[in-house]
Amino acid sequence: MRSGLRRGLLGPQGVVTVLGTLALVLVIVIAPHVWGDAATTTSVADRLDGPSAAHPFGTDDLGRDVLARVLVAARLSVLLALGSTVIAVLGGVVLGVVATVLPRPLRRLVSALIDILLSFPWLLLALFFSVIWGANAIGAMLAVGFAGVPSIARLTYTLASSVADRDYVRAARIAGVGRAGVVVRHVIPNILPPLLVSTAAHASAALLSFAGLSFLGLGVQAPDFDWGRLLREGIARIYVNPMAALGPGIAIVLTGLVLNAIGSLTGETASRTPRRPAGRRARPAKRASAGERPEPAAVVEVEDLRVSFPDAEGRLVERVRGVGFSIRPGETVGIVGASGSGKSVTAMAVAGLLGAEAHVSAAAVRFQGIDMTSAPTAAERSRLGLELAVVFQDPLTSLNPSLTVGRQLTEVSEVHERVPRARARSRARQVLESVGIAEPHRRARQYPHQLSGGMRQRAMIGMGLMGRPRLVIADEPTTALDVTVQRQVLRVLHEARRRTGSAILFISHDIALVSGFCDRVLVMKDGEIVEELEAARLDEARHPYTRALIACVPHMTTDRSRPLPVIGDLAEPDRQDVAEEARA
């Protein structure tokens, strides 16, 4: 955390933030001593002057220097804004956290109360409170402070509730940690970063609210003055001397920027966000030229594929190291390996779905002759939409929750084939039926969350079948499912392949599953393919890693009296070791 803070402070944003904060603090501390006299001494002779060398922002109706008044007003303006922020944040956090730990009926009551308070505009609340506490600086501070409580309380409640559901909070409760202990030990530390950011945002909003109240005459009263009052005095003469009104305005904007910058810096370092990678996406080493049409024998051709990602320090770590393979039409190829072996990255490279932070280089990554390492042309994109399907592990996150299942299926045909909607709909229903979804009419009108996990995965496969798939990439498609449902989903995938003649690239960490489903198996370890063999000949595996992978899975005849064989050399390098290895 400390190193994160140091890194944050040394960045360009950090330097600007620190300089801005220092300048602001300096003005707050010394301005009243240095310019106090100039700001309050009246001089009738100089009254209502325009900007000049002696008075850069001009003078007011009593001949006081406006620039000096703006600088001196910084102390009162900022302190009042911070005071009201402290009230809002303390009140809000206490209310929000208390609401989380209360028993259910009380919790509902408090959260309803927060919601009701939230529905009042803050200005209305502030006006209401300033009637109670009077139209003076302290009254305005309390008013702005209390008006801010509901929004901070709501945020705290939402953040805290999301943490309170976590397994580590459950574990603490099982261990006998009380409600207060859970809040102090687990809830507060985990909601702190977003809370810090919104506190800073709230401070700049409070600054503006204050200026507003004083501008309306409800805040700071003469002879005291803050930026709001100066605005009020200057606005009357805005056509004669614009600086008298703009000066305080500029001060408010600059201070707001500094507060926001502090917020984003603290929030960022507290959440230990790794620095954005400095590197740019590497261009592919070589573009497949039009002359080099792939042999029709292969749906997918991959040669010397290398993919690197930046680590937390921005250094590149190669996660896929020179992988090459091809997939024939209609073939089912499985890639197995531990997590971090690069199997998913390889599959995503074939699908052209790697994010911008991935550095891809390859002699070739071709799908049906389309170069997948560069951005596809419009024609290629539409071919990809029809011929390439991807099924992810968790269909709940890969299906759009706000569209009906039917709509997501018809999208493919409507966008890429320009099929009329009615025809696309009837096709969608056929497809849903073909993937074993009963009552396709009703299901097509439902949303993803109304379907069971297995059904969602089948709908996802259905999406791929709306086109003319030549390849279905299935990335751990059944890992989140029960064994029985897993078998049903695999059957659907198998049927789809039989009907359409599509090839399948199947990614899994379960070698037994892969051996049952695929024709050919590629075994990956540390970004390389260590062995490639027919699924039926797994018992002839030569590479020690493949053999270890096969041995470590318990099966229905495993000897119970002996410990399970463990993949020794790989036992599991932790992430730091991996990073260090890559650096070396």
């Binding site: 976590r166 397994d167 580590y168 459950r170 574990a171 603490a172 409760r173 099982i174 261990a175 006998g176 940690v177 030990r185 687990h186 530390p189 985990n190 531990a338 997590s339 996990g453 029960d482 064994v483 029985t484 449902v485 897993q486 078998r487 049903q488 059957r491 198998h494 960490h509 379960d510 070698i511 037994a512 051996s515 049952g516 489903f517 699924a535 039926a536 000949r537 797994l538 018992d539 992978l549 096969i550 470590c552 899975v553 318990p554 099966h555 229905m556 495993t558 119970r560 410990p563 399970l564 064989p565 463990v566 993949i567 790989l570 036992a571 599991e572 390098p573 932790d574 992430r575 730091q576």
Partner: protein, 263 residues
């Protein structure tokens, strides 16, 4: 050395018309020093049964006893007894506070014993527990993010053991892990079970893993237990059709799926 007994336990979620019985009238006994498996599909009520034993949900009917003492309720003595039942969760990353060093998470588990040992004693015990689960004690100050999934799962096992439990409930503890790491965690749990004579309720949907780990097994479906018995006999001669379906779905190394056979 303790026996965990469920008698006629039902758990209901929701109220009124939306109410739904997640667990219906379950009788289950986990004998002292044995490993009892609980298999079934998701939504069958396995995890709800676990949550009821550690007090995360309250059964609508029935009793749960630890060595004959009722552990349902919220009185101080019931809570103290209930802490002798500890749980290991499915996802090791969400089961550890990302901002808390692993040593401190383990020390938190020690609270369940009711003692408040001095700092030196606590550090010594954390070191001992980390050694027990084969993690370098020098790394006690590191956050969970510095460890792999399998290592995090071992830390959560250490945390459960810190409570000096009589019964451990392992809820799908290897489902979120790679097959290649699964063996390490399973071996560790078996080793600890033998060494500390733990009573374990082992929840999983993987029959091969359950067969390897458990002496006895119960099969759950739609909130009810449909079959129970010694693991070998249940798996070699299943009497319930659902158990047979489960068995048929287990992939066998190097054997092509038979698509003609109905599953």
């Amino acid at each position: 050395m303790s026996t965990l007994e469920y008698a006629n336990v039902s758990v209901r979620y929701g109220h009124g018309a939306g109410a739904h019985l997640a667990v219906q009238d379950v009788d289950l006994t986990v004998r002292s020093g044995r490993v009892h498996g609980l298999v079934g599909e998701s939504g069958s009520g396995k995890s709800t049964l676990a949550a009821a034993a550690v007090g995360l949900v309250r059964p609508a009917a029935g009793t749960i006893r630890l060595d004959g003492v009722d552990i349902v309720g919220s009185s101080a003595s019931v809570r103290a007894t209930r802490r002798r039942v500890q749980m290991i969760f499915q996802d090791p990353f969400s089961a550890l506070d990302p901002r808390m060093p692993i040593g401190e998470s383990i020390a938190e588990g020690m609270r369940a014993t009711g003692r408040r040992p001095a700092r030196a004693e606590r550090t010594r015990r954390v070191k001992e527990l980390l050694e027990l689960v084969h993690i370098d004690p020098a790394r006690a100050g590191e956050p969970p993010g510095a460890f792999s999934g399998g290592q995090c799962q071992r830390v959560t096992i250490a945390r459960a053991l810190a409570a000096e439990p009589d019964v451990v409930i392992a809820d799908e503890i290897t489902s979120a892990l790679d097959v290649s790491v699964q063996g390490v965690v399973l071996n560790l749990l078996r080793e600890l079970q033998a060494e500390l004579k733990l009573t374990i309720l082992f929840i999983s949907h993987n029959l091969a893993v359950v067969r390897y780990m458990c002496d006895t097994v119960s099969v759950m479906r739609q909130g009810r237990i449909v079959e129970s018995g010694a693991t070998e006999s249940v798996l070699s001669a299943p009497s319930h059709p659902y158990t047979r379906e489960l068995l048929a779905a287990v992939p066998v190394m190097g054997e092509r799926f038979d698509w003609e056979k109905a599953t």
